[in-house]
């Protein structure tokens, strides 16, 4: 499996990462090197093997249905570049 230049541009766009035309060939090479490395895994036969989700047998932790968090709007918007009445302000996203 390998990626072409168009795929690199598309992945960058989907991840909203600005990639200049000059950077594409380099990234393409890096991605293909990584894919080739991961590709070696396909040599292992995993028929009938359940995917491992944890190294030790563990159950998912669950929470009780109680309200014990939130009500901290000052903290929530503290890092935002722009706010108004505790709203985050972002460049207009509607057509």
């Amino acid at each position: 499996m390998s990626v072409d230049a168009a795929t690199v541009r598309r992945i960058a766009h989907l991840a909203r990462i600005a990639v200049t035309e000059a950077e594409v060939p380099h990234l393409q090479g890096e991605l293909n090197a990584m894919l080739a490395f991961v590709e070696q895994l396909s040599e292992v036969n995993v028929d009938g093997v359940e995917p491992m989700t944890s190294v030790t047998p563990m159950e998912m932790k669950k929470r009780q249905d109680v309200v014990n968090d939130g009500e901290i709007p000052d903290d929530i918007v503290r890092n935002a570049p722009e706010t108004q009445n505790h709203f985050f302000l972002v460049p207009k996203v509607v057509e």
Binding site: L14, K62, I72, K92
Partner: protein, 494 residues
Amino acid sequence: MNVSVKPGKLIKGQTGDWEVVIGMEVHAQVTSKSKLFSGASTEFGGEPNSHVSLVDAAMPGMLPVINEECVKQAVRTGLGLNAKINLRSVFDRKNYFYPDLPQGYQISQYKSPIVGEGEIIVELDGGKTATIGIERLHLEQDAGKSLHDQSPSMSCVDLNRSGVALMEIVSKPDIRDAEQAKAYVTKLRSILRYLGTCDGDMEKGSLRADVNVSVRKPGGPLGTRCEIKNMNSINFIGQAIEYEARRQIEIIEDGGTIDQETRLFDPNKGETRSMRSKEEAHDYRYFPDPDLLPLEFTQSYVDELKKKLPELPDQKKARFIESLGLSPYDAGVLVAERESAVFYETVLDGLADKTRDGKLAANWVINELFGRLNKEGHGITASPVSASQLAAIVGLIGEGTISGKIAKDLFEIVWTEGGDPRELVESRGMKQVTDLGAIEKVVDDIIAANPDKVAQAKAKPQLAGWFVGQVMKSSGGKANPQAVNDLLKAKLGI
């Protein structure tokens, strides 16, 4: 599961009949106090970004921990949809960029949902039913909310909804026309409200539907579908399907092809239109969320929840028909809304003789009470006549203390003035006169005063009705009609 699809209403085009194929994705907000993966409140409204924890705002290093109540609610819903419950399910990340999605992905379930295939029976016009298959139900997070009208150049983002638990309930493409689609959402909403797993409030967005519509020649291969997003009214769903089906038929009959796309319904214009520039939105790059272990529970956990499930509308309807002798139509009306069924059952609890008066009580709830409530624009929960008051009125009719006609007057008094129906009947002298001596005296007086009518009635027995009217009139409607009839027949010799 083998569901036989009910044929729907075909649409006539220039090239013959067309069949509409509809599948739905309903997003139902899970009833819980806190969010799916955080301890912030799910309460509707609130100041911007107040019901938000650092998890919901996707601050670095925050980890999701699942709310066990949301898991229970999803399992209960699955059981209510007669569906397969998956003892192991997996949470995945659905990746897309939008300002009101701070994580950059929605935690959802993709390949392994918590609930698999099921089915529900929906009620159609004329007492018919259709069975609609359920494909799956999965748990996922709601996104935040963007407001675009507060400023000319900026959008305002509020994360209060971010992380609230949703159940996405996906139907099979078994729905064949707008009526079936509306009946499906109506029934699904009713089941959720009986279960208490979603409040079903469509105005507040607690229940919204994405509707997939395609058209084909009856029995032919499936057409390309369009998805109408975010419908929050059952009537709009019907209108949108009618419009969208005709739009697609016209395009195909004019030699065009349907583009698979997402559309929005404009209720003011009654039409659907394309949402532009969303073509990349479908590349979600799902992968298992490494922050969450698989969700696992035992069959006995499911069995326990099943034991505690409330009676659902279909079961309640069957019980009303079987044990109280209600007609399927009346039983259907009473169970459609949970509140109506609760009201009717409270009336039943107030009756001394349920077997005798159960059916009469159903008539009174449906005809007198619902009729009056509709006229005044009240919901059942705001009824001025309480269930126990109505039970008293029905009991008074059932035991023969008042006639049906007087009962309507009594109902009117209770509606406008309130009070205990039994006391009102006493204090206002509304009791039906069953004392034969008293009725006989009235009958005798009227016969004596109208010798000409007596002669006529002997020749034409149907004129006896005039005498009944006179007796009822002079007794103020309180004479027992059966007793009056019997006495008149004897006295007039007819």
